[in-house]
């Protein structure tokens, strides 16, 4: 029994170490993704601990109090333990507030995009079923994510040391501009502008997909961001 306990403890610790390792080995290409990785790691570890706690409690109680005799309603006992209940309410509250407060700075940072000054503003317009990019203030700078004759994806090229403001909207129905590797998505809503501030992205290629159902070709709206 003791051996089993030690083994399961080792297993759990190993699993947590694995999560930890997995998320430290990959360097995030920008700060949104970095915050995502950081917070996700914390929550994943907490979640694994909670799930294991619940399972262990269930199994231990079940094994201990398993029985087959029926008892009469008169023998039924009621247990109360106010201290215990107040205790775990407090623990849960502290935990939840902690999770809330660590998520607050990156939340505010992402939300404040429309108040930031960027070198270049790029308007991103969702269409059924492609993306259109245009550099604001530059005539004839508009191009689409898709080459309609060859079917090739045309990348949006960004410079690493320039700051950008994406001004996202839609020409028809709602789409969502999703760049998983850069840790964000933002909906393209007709008649409404959503802003994303981008800076200091590691050089590389990052894929864009559409994440809001927009019609028959919703699954096929790829784009590419190339940072040089």
């Amino acid at each position: 029994m003791n051996k089993l306990r030690r083994k399961s403890l080792l297993f759990v610790l190993g699993f947590l170490a694995l999560i930890n390792g997995l998320y430290s080995s990959i360097a995030a290409p920008n700060d949104y993704r970095e915050k995502y990785d950081e917070i996700f790691k914390i929550q994943l570890i907490l979640s694994v601990i909670i799930i294991i706690m619940v399972l262990v409690m269930a199994i231990v109680l079940l094994r201990k109090y398993k029985s087959n005799e029926a008892i009469s309603p008169k023998e039924i006992k009621v247990f109360h333990n106010n201290k215990l209940e107040i205790g775990w309410t407090l623990v849960a509250t502290v935990l939840v507030l902690y999770l809330f407060f660590i998520s607050l700075p990156p939340t505010e940072n992402f939300a404040a995009a429309n108040n930031k000054q960027a070198d270049v503003t790029i308007s991103v317009i969702g269409h059924q079923f492609y993306w259109e990019f245009a550099i604001e203030g530059v005539v004839n700078s508009s191009f689409t994510s898709l080459n309609f004759t060859t079917g090739e994806i045309i990348p949006l090229v960004l410079f690493q040391n320039t700051t950008y403001l994406l001004k996202v909207t839609s020409a028809d129905v709602i789409h969502s501009f999703f760049v998983p590797e850069l840790g964000f998505k933002v909906d393209a809503v007709p008649g409404h502008y959503n802003y994303v501030y981008l800076e200091n992205i590691q050089k590389g290629e990052y894929r864009v997909t559409c994440a809001e159902y927009c019609g028959v070709n919703h699954y096929n709206m790829p784009g590419l961001i190339k940072v040089v």
Binding site: V78, F79, E85, A92, P106, Y219
Partner: protein
Amino acid sequence: MATERKTTSYWFLDYKKFFGTIDHKQIGMLYMMFSFVNIVFAGLLALIMRAELYNPGKDFVESRDWAGYFTVHGTVMIFFVVMAMGAGLGNYLVPKMIGARDLYWPRWNNIAFWMLVPASYFVWSSMAPIGWTAYPPNAIVLGGDKVDRWLIGLILAGTSSVIGAINFLLTVIYLRRPGLTWKKLDLFTWSIVFMAFIQLAATPVITIGLVMEFLARSLGATYFSTNAGSSPLFWQHVFWSYSHPAVYIMILPAMGLTSLIISRFSQTEVFGKVSMILSMAAITLLGFIVWGHHNFTASPNSPPGWFFTLTTFLIAIPSGIKTFNWLLTMYKGKIVVDVPFLFAISFVLGFVLGGVTGVMVNTIPLDLVFHDTYFVVGHFHFIIIGGALSAVSGAIYFIYSDMTGRMYNRKLAYAHYIFWVIGYILTFGSMNVLGALGMPRRYYDYSVLSILPNYDMIVLFNRIATIGAFMQGIAFTIFVFNFIYSAFKGELADEKPYNIAIPRLWMTDEEWEQLENMEVMH
């Protein structure tokens, strides 16, 4: 004491009773049967979709049909399966638990049920390609009558749900047996009270929204269009201010059933009953002010995104309290490990898995990635399938002998359980991974994701999700077979009908006897 066993009665074979019954037990059974029929077909839709997603690329479904499938699957599962199960079990159990002869309005009860049948007809026949969220402008610009059928179906379903809610509330308020105070009321009845309160308060909002969409489509009303000074985002607030509380319409009765089953089978009282009631109240009230967590990526620059994160996080507290109370209910009990009990434990597992993923998706820096991906799909299926449907299945086994006078086959029930639990963990766990890998939801073909770095993993986890879905399909087939077969061929339930069939824990034997001999007044 009413312990003599009735023999099985096949009352539903008589069409007059079938359509006209005003008996709460029979209407409860009708709800359950209706829900079974719907789950079979909506489940088939899910299996078709999972089969299509087993391989990347296009296999046998057309892209233009795909959206109809996921719309109808979602809508039917919510309104005609899980909510119908809640209403059915509420119908069946509540009058018994409060010592009433029937619901307050038996006739309206019948009408509320039968409204669901045309409602489901309209939804099924619509195959509207809009998703169950019906976001404008997509849902408004689409031609044809598909969306209109869907809207009419939901307006009917909402009306039925409001009638049902009023009926439940009146029943619990006015028909409790003398001496049964609110404090003595059992947790399942409490859960139905909270459920009915949400239905009553929230459903009118969505009904108005649906009518607005209908007018926008048919008469060109501009409630959700930009050039009239409004925005498609307005709909999202109307929709989610109903649809988040709607989640609790589905989960609250399941919580009540879990409390009921765990305490009955542990042969103890629920641990911390007062905090259980307060937790449900907190969940109910907070549930009304969290809807904005669905809209963060829709308008990220307009405050206050964090407000909804905070309110949603607060819901984790009563949810956690309830989880530990359920577990501690087993403490010092005499646990009869039987089918319903195992399903109640499965509820706790599904609820915890859905809970921790819910906390993740509510954290805005994570939501920026998870929103509208399979992560969300995995999260709410853990709650609704792993959670609510597990509890409902357990409850159906629990009252089976009382409903049919016969026992179900235990071996088949265990097989159902094993396939079910492994199946849902595989499917919805994989969906969570898929979302974290960046796979958006509502994709009919994910070969376009081959541009993503973890494409191999995306294919692998899609396959695991499909395998899990088919395991759930097998589980449910066993359940339905067992349910029907045993109703006709199962062994007769013996003298002590499954020893704990109908809950009367809160009564002394004398009280029970008194009740049996008492005329219940209307």
